[in-house]
Symmetry: C2
Subunit: 322 residues, 2 copies
Amino acid sequence: MNLLAVRDFIRKHGLLEEGDTVLAGVSGGPDSLALLFILRALAKEMRLRLRIAHLDHGLRPESAAEARYVAALADKLKIPAVISRAELGKTAKKGSLEEACRNARLDFLLRAAKDAQADKIALGHNLDDQAETVLMRILRGTGLYGLAGILPKRVIYGHTIIRPLLGLRRREIEAYLKRKKVIPLRDASNAEDVFLRNRMRRKLLPFLEKEYNRNIKQALANLAEGAAYDYEFLGRCARRAMGKKGSRIALARLKKAHPAIRRIIFRQAIAAAQGDTRRITFQHIREIEDLLWNRPVGSVVNLPRGLTVTKKILTMNFSAPS
Amino acid sequence: MNLLAVRDFIRKHGLLEEGDTVLAGVSGGPDSLALLFILRALAKEMRLRLRIAHLDHGLRPESAAEARYVAALADKLKIPAVISRAELGKTAKKGSLEEACRNARLDFLLRAAKDAQADKIALGHNLDDQAETVLMRILRGTGLYGLAGILPKRVIYGHTIIRPLLGLRRREIEAYLKRKKVIPLRDASNAEDVFLRNRMRRKLLPFLEKEYNRNIKQALANLAEGAAYDYEFLGRCARRAMGKKGSRIALARLKKAHPAIRRIIFRQAIAAAQGDTRRITFQHIREIEDLLWNRPVGSVVNLPRGLTVTKKILTMNFSAPS
């Protein structure tokens, strides 16, 4: 039954094609093990070739043993595996450890996918992760962009990342593993937002389920699904309206754009200048709006990470520190 | 200072034009009294002509006295007023009382606006109302449509409804009245969603403010503002993609539409058949999607309030019971 739901989800979101080589990121926790066994069950009918990737962050004492566990499992299942070790604990500063972990993991996956000539990178996020992510963002403040939450399919630097389990509840995944008699490693703590995420998971979501809506997780996941479609469409419109020069945009174009599209053009210009839009809030976008409409030529808005937006005579220029 | 913020809000959202005749809905509670006094303060510079409308629902023993209070105030301020009395308590069934109230109030305002040849109908909703509305909808399950919350400006049956105070916090409104030495009637309980709204207001929002984000109300209001712009733009695209026949749509058009647009086309077709999209959930939209892609010609989806969607050979037909 889980298999059927996952197959539907894969088809609906166009996650896999016949003959794909799929690199699964396997931490050894419940989600990634379920992902691996489910992909394995689908491999024959979809003619998938599976690969396993595991990064040992080297941050916890048990991480070497976990890497050995994944290596042994790959061996037993006869699936080729890439296991690598990062030395983050020694190099990264404490404050930026989360970000360093995330980057190291992504770098590793992209490199491994390239080496394995993988068509897709598969990750194990589930519906509960999605609900937690969306709720965290709502509480902190977000827009359509943030509501889209975790995307079922996303292209990063030419690599396609897919999340086939995003429609499954965590408890369904645990039940599946139990049926399959697979004992996962304890869930390796996701370094990202770990404190806030745990409060969502252990306190706020159970409270909201009990007091307000038994199906709130599904409701948040639905919201994310709709927002992802909406944002994708608006993003296309914005790219069309923006023209080519990603980080220098004609004032005339900006002024005639619909406000919804203008805000996304700003985000795209920031991403063009700086790679992504992390730490950009609604308030920053508002300030750029104000620069456009109300401030004299020559004015500058300073954004996080050293990014500046300058109003010129004919254009608005977004530039990152070199 | 409040006056300045309201003036900015009015300009930003294009709520009022010079010379407008404005009909203010005045219940006598803090929001509508503040609205009245703020509009009065702006009346001279914007050359506004003010009118007051008050509907006595006749549901509470004190409602007749409240109507007299508003009439006396209008007299004192020398603003023409329309005061009317509905007999809802006697006619409406208990379950539909909320809806009957809402409809009676809207009917009354539209009629009064027509009689007064008013350009705008002004209502007193504030930022706290907005935050409560958005949070309620998130908890119950919503999409972009619901996230847009209370709109600063909305056209209903050719009448423009504006909410100039939507950017002000409830406590700012109370402080304004105190400064002006205006003593409002106790807040007449908003019949709509009164139970759930009170739990948002008294329990959940204060808890979230304390534990998660001191500025959560502003964050929810920002989310609503962004969602309103996004939905407005998507709605335009959907109307363009849909063509003329509002409640009968070519399958070919639907199939080639972007999923974000398709969902809004469905909503617009439901509104064309039935006047609005109340009680339509994400799950219903999903079912119509399934009808489009997976079910044979002749299949029917049954929606709330007797609405049916039928898959024909070339079209999808939305029809309300006659």
